[in-house]
Symmetry: D2
Subunit: 309 residues, 4 copies
């Protein structure tokens, strides 16, 4: 089961669970995978920025790949392979594919500035991971500081047939989706899957602009699934209704620096992971923050019982 330009739906960005001492929580790796599968996601993405991938050792990364694929019941798994050097990228990509991953995800390094630098980087990356490996182009300038004009995204797509999906998390990015879909419509760009990130803060409108779904880690993937389904069915108001009900919490989870701690806390509350621990260096939550999350959960639960923990 590989990733394709036809991929739609919700791909959960999975956190990496740790024990209180910072060791990998292998049991929770399986549990979080099963949770997503039961929630009805269409796939899972691991070892991304929110997966604390840069804090892992290579053996741990590989162990996570194996355990997630083993527990996913056949769901397609996308593996983040961004790395400062192509040697590490190649190795993880090849290991992941041979373990059964559906594809890999690549973000450009921070130093890339000009259009040619960015496009050139992806050509080199594709040569490194292999031209037969489907890859997701991650466009996330808030974190990478790399700004890709729509035509650079198109150029990467055109120059690399193995690029099957855009993980869209430029912000603001609604016009970027529209630009790409317009090019597709007029035939000046081949079709591609677009899944949206950025904590889903604009998912309601991203779907209306032509996105195929979400690839993000909000602690209630069920809501993301609802929004995508309602949108795909043309029931715009219903999509906004469920989205708006969660927005106060979703916005709270989107805070820079502490966002991942909040997400892990909610997942721990939901019983999905055993501990909310972030591997060091990483921020923890104050008791005030925990109380605020409680309050938000109770408010969300008024219209979505799944948030009644």
């Amino acid at each position: 089961m590989t990733l394709s330009t036809q991929t739609k739906g919700v791909y959960a960005i999975a956190p990496t669970p740790f024990l209180p001492d910072g060791a990998l929580d292998e049991t929770s790796v399986g549990r979080v995978t099963e949770f997503y599968a039961e929630a009805g996601v269409d796939g899972i993405t691991i070892l991304g920025i929110m997966g604390e991938a840069q804090k892992l050792e290579p053996e741990e990364s590989l162990e996570i790949v194996r355990r997630v694929i083993a527990s996913a019941g056949g769901l397609p798994i996308v593996v983040g392979v961004s790395a400062p050097g192509f040697a590490a990228m190649r190795r993880l990509a090849q290991q992941a594919m041979s373990e059964g991953a559906a594809g890999v995800m690549i973000a450009p390094p921070a130093a890339m500035r000009t259009d040619d630098q960015i496009a050139g980087y992806f050509s080199q990356a594709v040569a490194a991971v292999g031209e037969d490996v489907p890859f997701v182009l991650q466009d996330h300038p808030q974190v990478t500081t790399v700004q890709m004009a729509p035509k650079v995204v198109r150029r990467i797509i055109e120059e690399n047939p193995s690029c099957v999906m855009l993980k869209h998390e430029d912000w603001p990015g609604l016009e970027k989706i529209t630009a790409l879909r317009n090019w597709q419509g007029e035939g000046s760009m081949r079709p591609i899957s677009i899944l949206c990130g950025n904590g889903a803060l604009f998912l309601d409108f991203e779907m209306r602009r032509g996105a195929d779904g979400a690839m993000t880690g909000y602690a209630f993937p069920e809501m993301l699934i609802d929004v995508v389904r309602h949108s795909a069915a043309g029931d715009v108001d219903a999509a906004h209704d469920i989205f708006d009900a969660h927005l106060p919490l979703l916005r709270y989870e989107q805070q820079p620096v502490v966002g991942l701690a909040i997400r892990k806390h909610v997942l721990q509350r939901r019983g999905v992971i055993a501990h909310e621990t972030l591997r060091r260096p990483g921020a923890g939550l104050s008791s005030a923050a925990r109380a605020e999350i409680d309050y938000l959960l109770r408010r969300v639960a008024r219209s979505d019982r799944r948030a009644a923990l």
Copy 2:
């Protein structure tokens, strides 16, 4: 009427209205001022980042100061005086105060990094504008890239008696408010007014953490006033209710790059300014974006009739 450490409530960040050709729209300057006064704000802040201050010529800035003060019916006016050099900062500050401004607002330049650099900069700035001029310390790392630890904020407050207010827009910043209020409570920092910015995206919880109000430019200042009043009255749920009703639109207005265009569009729809024009260089809105704003306004209007335009 000057700014003080006791200042509370909502200070609207006013946009600068332009004619379609980019000239200053002097008529709308008065109208937008009257609009805020009628809406019930406690003060107005002009010539901030959202006021496109960096695109104005000095004479225009002074003209805006005069017109806003003339139309404000006695409301306190805070004038942003951040500038690359102290000469321009001093001149605008002294002109503004002699015209009747209540105080000035200063953000650090982007190059400041270490604690000493930041604190040293504010000492120099205070020497430039005058030690008798009340000033607002603007803490806005998302834009300035300058990160001030809570203890640096405290140091600036302690070293500069004319610092009467923190414009808090660190993000995330809830713990920063708590830290400052704790120091105040235990007597290790003198009391100070804290008004929150960042488009009000966290105003609901910022009030609970001890903020005195908001200083931001959301196109419905009425909502900000409601949240601040309900919070001050201890009616937490009511504060969240009205906040959540607006959150989908408020979040939409918070988009980087196009946020100001959205805000001006809504204010133009409300009849507050004649044109939604941004002075160049500045982004405009697509028809899709306008339709999305319409849709959001209609949804907000279901629970807040003031959004029925």
Copy 3:
């Protein structure tokens, strides 16, 4: 006398002299201009980054333009007009040209990232200053953080006929000069003047790669003139000999943060300006640094008597 694509030689980047209290030192403005003219430069550039332009008020900038033109004895004067907004850029450009400037210099603002953003910015800037005003494209990524690929430089040149010169201070930039000259040679880019900046740290080789001269502010413009003349005459070794004799001091003057203070100190030692004062905020020199400059001057003077102060 206007700037053209044929301009060659040395344009001195003039510092702005201040009195010890930070006021503009109007007398020294004239003196520094006469000094450059007597040294034999081909033109003078004012109000650049090294001219502390961002610390000046508009009236001061205009006063400097007038005084320099009045004292320059007909030498072409280039005026830096980079500004956060086009209103200020237009005004200064039009005032400067009407006072008799030879052209203006424009650097892109820091936010520009993609090729299209950069090229689009220059189209807007040209519309603002006027299509009939010759301009220098300043390519200085170390300061602006804007990286222009050679093809973006070419695009700006092709799209804007009023672009007559590149102020080249990309670092490293030798290959960029070669790329542009190659395009010129094969006819895929119109000819343009290239003067080099970056404190002249690579002027020896920049001339060999095809530069037309230097536009920088090293405190001994006589040396820059020698290098350019020897290079133009094909006497490569002589160019390197005089360059290498100054390199220890030139390198010392190139230090970030304190570089301008060093340059002003040497110019004050040379009797060109009355005070080495930088307008605040700005760094001063320690006594150790002054002693080091003395030592370097004495060493340079062994092979170039002009450095015997």
Copy 4:
């Protein structure tokens, strides 16, 4: 043999040699180590930024540690262990020390801004690598973007007894050396070794300000040794004479982006490494650049025969 606060002299920053296909050139690893030992350096630093450490896989890093220690004839070896996560840092540090390394070197990650963030990071790093492991504090803001005020350097030294050395490559940094040595002199900071980096561009004056030597990778370590010895012997002029003779080449090697390619090219010309290959992504040299290096070598050789290749 471990690193201490008394360490003096020249530590060569060793490049990592690769075969033309990008594989580790294990033979050259030994040869480059022997070259440095024969040149008379006091130690070798490996796996730093100039060692392309971020492009290596963990097994390769460990292999390099082993081979260098085996070939170094007892010279102390410092191993760069900077990493995005503490897990990888701990592992490499412990492996390196158990293989016989003299100490490790740690630079802060780019996100660190405030004084407390930076100091806190080093406390966490020391906990990770072990309090008994001597470490070098790398202060290199040009690359890391982290600016440490002198008092933050002092704080890290005071809070972490295992900090034995500062790798000084702030730029400009002469006043920083003076400030630290003054504190040491007055007893407000314990003594520490200071070795200077930044390609040695200011080594002549850094020694006069109180540095203990150099830790950098200029392709002629013999010159660095001469400068340090002459300086230590009080023969200031002799130090400058040999430094100035190399400065044109040293400056050429200091170019951003292509600097390492130049250094590897010279080392290959010297027979120290078999290939000048950089692992991808990495820049190569044009034929013009090679000719310029040839020219510079010939000029240096006029006063230093060791440069006659």
